[in-house]
Amino acid sequence: MVGGRGLGTRTLRLYLPLAFFVVAMLFPFYWMLITSIKPNRELYNARIMPLIVHQPTLKHYVDLLSQTNFLTWTYNTMLVAVVTTAVSLVLGTMMAYPLARMRFPGAAVVAIGVAATYLVPQPLLFIPMSDIINRLELGNTLKAVMLTYPTLLIPFSAWLLMGYFKSVPRELEEAARIDGASRLQAMLRVVLPLCTPGLLSAGIFSFTLAQNEFLYALIFLAKSDVRTVPIGAITELIRGDVFYWGQLMAAALLGSVPVAIIYSFFVEHYVAGLTAGSVKT
């Protein structure tokens, strides 16, 4: 492993493929960034070398923020993501706790039901769901998506949290109950605090899923002032054949920032959540 040969193998086995993966995964984001700061005369001139920016400008950002409802869309997206994450975390915890730690009639059926609803993809449900939302007269309100996103997030959170709840020794809870704590108190004061990493994982994962949701938002939010960022960008920055590329890229980049920031702080928890379902720890 000494000298040139070791470095050679390491280059071949590590540095080259790693560089390939990093460049391949990040290039579209680089492209988003530089497109968003190119003036139109650079964007729409096939003769100018496109890989770098020659005269950067913030014009697209200014236009995006001043001429479109982008800030409203951002507010809507965040509001919906926060509310649905909170609701899903509470209901998911309430479902996961007994399923993971208690014996009661019906437990197996509910557990299978949770797993199955987790795996039922939205496209199977969106047409009947659109009719239901219409009948509830919730079209073009954020309530429509606040009601429908948790159908994804509750089973997901419950499934993820069950693994964490199972890992807390039963003796701890029993000790608390012997000391006079009720079942609810034992759960809130003993088990849940020990599962903070699991709650964080489920919360962060739900938040990113809520930000990523597209289909229900597309169907239910047809007015500009209730739209979320992805829907606003797709429907209002593309008009017929006219694409406002600079603004589209600025919107895509700004729309990704909240998720990216939260993700960068909690990347370990995110990865833990990602792998909890498939890798036994």
């Binding site: 208690m102 199955a116 039922v120 993809p121 159908t151 797709i234 919107a251």
Partner: protein, 310 residues
């Protein structure tokens, strides 16, 4: 000393002739069901009910704004005669199969590369996962511009490298559009495989590799006879998850091609959307969506039981 008062501290179940609210709530099954009820009701109302309502709709001729009437299996018969529907079947299977193979092989390669020791590993992992966490519709917008008919940077690079003499119409040609959605889906999904499989690799004990090395196994043999067998459960779960969500993919294709050109990239979800939402035929649209069910059900049932067994 500590045992005796402890048992005395909870006399309720023993003395429980008189009904007490607290005593009832403390019973395991009562507590469990009190906790479960809100979530179960929600899922019944917004997953189970829509599911069965969808089946009911698929048996109706139901324009969006008016009452429907029962037509039996007429919607499914109409689909069986619809050439686009059969193309949708083919497209969906090709899309799912090719992307799954690419993501699995690419993700495994990514995991093996990342499973080596090097500085900045956590940072690299965080960057590699970005395509998976950024909202799909937004990253797909970037890909639209990367594949733009006139200003595609992919074409620019290929042209200037002398590989081609005129630019490709990535999203305008039937075959290339399929290639494009496959590439973008692979780009987005590969990190999920890569990072999950990496976590799986890290659970393999180094002793196993040492033992295999002592027995004279080559790197390749170690991969086939140590790594893969140990990773089998993780590989199965990750792949089945990914198959479910790729098979029913909507937003990537809707944003990138809208199912075009000439239905060449339509999959079940986008076709159901076109018929049910844009076309306003809820019954027929619901039937298209339900056509996903047989294939999907096989995977969902397998995975549900596999997860339960684990």
């Amino acid at each position: 000393m500590s045992v005796a008062p402890a048992t005395l501290a909870r006399p309720a179940p023993v003395a429980g002739r008189r009904f007490s609210f607290r005593g009832a709530v403390e019973r395991e099954w009562v507590f469990s069901w009190l906790m479960l009820v809100p979530g179960v009701l929600f899922l019944l109302a917004f997953v189970a009910y829509p599911f069965f309502y969808g089946i009911y709709l698929s048996l109706q001729d139901r324009p969006v704004a008016s009452a429907g009437h029962f037509v039996g299996l007429a919607n499914f018969v109409a689909l069986a005669r619809d050439r686009v529907f059969w193309q949708v079947n083919t497209n969906t299977f090709i899309y799912t199969l090719v992307t799954t193979v690419l993501k699995l092989v690419g993700g495994m390669a990514m995991a093996l590369v990342m499973n080596q020791q090097f500085r900045g590993k956590n940072l690299a992992r965080a960057f590699l996962l970005l395509p998976f966490i950024v909202p799909t519709a937004l990253s797909t917008i970037a890909w639209m511009w990367l594949l733009d008919p006139t200003f595609s940077v992919v074409n620019w690079v290929l042209l200037h490298a002398g590989a081609i003499t005129s630019g490709f119409s990535w999203l305008g040609n039937a075959t290339l559009a399929m290639v494009s959605i496959i590439v973008v889906n692979t780009w987005r999904g590969m990190p999920f495989y890569g990072i999950t499989l990496l976590a799986g690799l890290q659970t393999i004990s180094p002793d196993l590799y040492e033992a295999a090395a002592i027995d004279g196994a080559s790197l390749r043999q170690r991969f086939w006879h140590v790594t893969l067998p140990v990773m089998k459960p993780v590989l199965i779960i990750v792949t089945m998850f990914s198959v479910i969500f790729t098979f029913s993919d909507f937003q990537l294709i809707y944003v990138l091609t809208h199912g075009g050109p000439a239905n060449a990239t339509h999959v079940f979800a986008t076709y159901a959307f076109d018929i049910g939402m844009s076309g306003g035929q809820l019954g027929l649209g619901a039937a298209v969506a339900l056509a996903m069910l047989p294939a999907l059900a096989v995977v969902i049932v397998l995975l549900t039981f596999y997860l339960r067994r684990e």
